[in-house]
């Protein structure tokens, strides 16, 4: 097992708002190993983006960060801004979630890609623009559109431009925040393959934040599941997808359109005043009294499997997830058969 390239220890991120303090990440610990793809899935608003941005210290001044984020041997939270800047983009890249807001409206997309080359690899204008054009082609946009401005692009195209920017100089660690959302199946596949292909080729690592469980299951080596600011389950991708142990993961998988479209009643919890005990207890089908009282800790099970659930502590796990809900078969087949195609 290779050493971790990034290790987050007990990270707490909170925002101050007029309605109280939003605890967007609570006691998050995870590790990304050299050459590993870690999938991060979870409920919307549970703090995935926050985690991704926290690594690069891109959160607004209102955010309060505690804990440790070790990149190789540097603690990113105490690193001087100057050194941080050297890491950003070059060593740790990020594909941000909201392309329409993250692209500068007054610079042509080509320029926005080219500037990375010009800045980080110090090449001439011509050369950089040529490389930017290549990058655009790579994500399926004709390079002639490089001189167009963001407002002239479609949503999916902007998303791909963001990917192009994130991949431009092949960082050692890539944080990809929903890199394939808003893409049609073909394109999605192509982009996913592109990203993973490049990451693997460079033996880089990646934190893949996504709502697309199938994608996560297929691409990631390991998966972390977040709920309400906490990591609730973590383990090898295949295992998580095929035999989820946390009730939330289970419910998540059941809600897939192809898997029954099952919903769970109740709302995502407030991050200002999270529910007592287990944060999922109100919606959990397997809850029992203790769930509302005791806040479960993240426990390591066998085989690098972590879980934050009282059930697992009590050894009642077997009852819960007897049937694998989502096997990886169809996903793995997808590229050959193309079930993504309509």
């Amino acid at each position: 097992m290779s050493s971790p390239i990034l290790s987050i220890e007990n990270l707490n991120v909170s925002f101050k708002t007029s309605k109280g303090i939003v605890k967007a990440n609570e006691d998050v610990s995870l590790q990304i190993r050299e050459g590993e793809i870690l999938g991060l899935i979870g409920e919307t608003g549970c703090g995935k983006t926050t985690l991704g941005k926290a690594i690069l210290r891109l959160l607004s001044g209102k955010a309060k960060l505690e804990g440790k984020i070790m990149y190789r041997d540097k603690d990113l939270l105490t690193l001087p801004e100057k050194e941080m800047r050297l890491l950003r983009g070059k060593e740790i890249g990020i594909i941000l979630q909201n392309p329409s807001a993250c692209l500068n409206p007054v610079l042509s997309t080509g320029k926005q890609i080219a500037e990375i080359y010009r800045y980080h690899e110090i090449m001439g204008k011509k050369e950089a623009e040529k490389k930017a054009g290549e990058m655009l082609e790579l994500v399926g946009i004709s390079s002639s559109r490089g001189c167009d401005y963001p407002h002239q692009f479609s949503g999916g195209m902007l998303q791909r431009v963001m990917v192009a920017i994130g991949l431009a100089i092949r960082p050692g660690l890539l944080i990809a925040d929903e890199p394939t959302k808003g893409l049609d199946p073909d394109t999605k596949l192509q982009i996913a393959e592109l990203i993973v292909g490049l990451v693997r080729k460079e033996n880089a690592s990646m934190l893949l934040i996504t709502h697309d469980l199938e994608l996560a299951g297929r691409l990631a080596d390991r998966i972390s599941v977040m709920y309400a600011g906490e990591i609730v389950e973590m383990g090898m991708a295949e295992e998580i997808i095929s035999s989820p142990k946390h009730p939330y993961t289970l419910d998540l998988l059941r809600s897939l359109p192809g898997k029954g479209f099952g919903t769970v009643s109740g709302h995502p919890p407030s991050l200002v005043s999270p529910p007592s005990g287990c944060r999922y207890h109100q919606r959990c089908r397997f809850r029992f009294e203790a769930c509302s009282l005791a806040h479960p800790a993240l426990r390591e099970l066998e085989g690098e499997r972590f879980i934050r659930c009282l059930l697992s502590e009590k050894g009642r796990r077997k009852e819960t997830a007897a049937q694998p809900l989502l096997t990886l078969q169809p996903v793995l087949r997808c590229s050959e058969e193309g079930i993504w195609r309509c």
């Binding site: 210290r57 607004s60 001044g61």
Partner: protein, 299 residues
């Protein structure tokens, strides 16, 4: 699903409290509060000038000309032996009046025109902006002469003359912002609600281009006060010996080297006023609902 999900309720209290955080934020902003306090001081000076001023602002004592500040004359005396302190205090009435009135009128009118022009675009934009060009291309004195000719002298013609020359600045500034803002996605989203153009301008465009308006408005006060004194020689109203800061400054110019206090104190009052309104303006801007400022990165 028997568990009671804590029913969140937007209670009356919470709602009201949240609807007014702007004021609260304003209150928390020390600068803004001090700005308001300075404005209050100015207003008090204007209202109670007769009570505050130690001397008659018009009383000349030719044997006590150009005295330096002393306990009897806190700001000294001017070239005709008048108490500068008293004149400065009385001057608050006129200078502040003109400054406030002109800035209020022009910023509102100019903003309205700029918004309309920028948001609606097309022919209307062309017409309005050519109008702005015409007004701006005018040397101010010609306009002032015109107004003097039409209205005769008086406080109102000063205000009108100044207002007429100053509004285009706001119009142009706001139009530029509006041109850009109208293409933003959130404006299109608002348009999908099919409100009137006026509504979009008021609710969506205006709040997003308040900053330059506030900056210009709060700084314009000084400009207006000084400019007002320049108009006085056209017979537009404020005539000597009426104390007015701009004119006092001007009258003190010959003594710039021998008795600098003649220009210093009226100048100080203008600066004071500008500070007051800038502080308050900054506070206003912060309470306009500023999206979280992201420029400081968290550690």
């Amino acid at each position: 699903m028997t568990d009671v999900i804590e029913k969140t309720e937007i209670t009356e209290k919470a709602y009201l409290a949240e609807k007014r955080p702007d004021l609260e934020e304003f209150g928390k902003n020390k600068l803004a509060v001090s700005g308001l306090m300075l404005i209050a001081v100015l207003c008090i000076l204007a209202l109670f000038a007769p009570e505050i001023a130690p001397h008659d602002p018009f009383a000349q004592k030719l044997d006590r000309r150009l005295l330096s500040p002393s306990s009897e004359y806190p700001f000294g005396t001017d070239e005709l032996g008048r108490c500068i302190f008293s004149r400065v205090i009385y001057g608050t009435r006129i200078s502040l009046g003109i400054g406030l009135l002109v800035v209020a009128v022009t910023s509102v009118a100019g903003t309205a025109i700029g918004l309309t022009s920028g948001y609606r675009g097309g022919l209307l934009d062309e017409v309005l902006m050519r109008g702005v060009d015409i007004v701006m291309a005018f040397p101010n004195i010609i306009l002032a002469l015109l107004i003097a000719g039409l209205l005769g002298p008086g406080f109102s013609s000063v205000v009108l003359a100044l207002a007429f020359t100053q509004w285009p600045a706001y119009a142009r500034l706001v139009r530029g912002q509006a041109l850009s803002l109208r293409k933003r996605a959130f404006v299109e989203a608002a348009r999908a609600l099919r409100p009137s153009g006026f509504y979009i301008m008021r609710k969506h465009i205006l709040p997003n281009c308040m900053e330059p308006i506030i900056v210009l408005g709060t700084l314009e006060i000084a400009h207006v006060i000084i400019f007002a004194s320049a108009l006085s020689f056209l017979g537009l109203g404020i005539q000597p010996p009426v104390p007015e800061w701009g004119s006092m400054l001007k009258a003190g110019i010959p003594y710039l080297r021998t008795a600098p206090h003649l220009t210093f104190f009226p100048g100080l009052m203008i600066i004071f006023t500008v500070f007051a309104f800038n502080f308050a303006g900054d506070g206003l801007r912060d309470s306009l609902g500023q999206p979280a400022d992201q420029e400081v990165l968290a550690r």
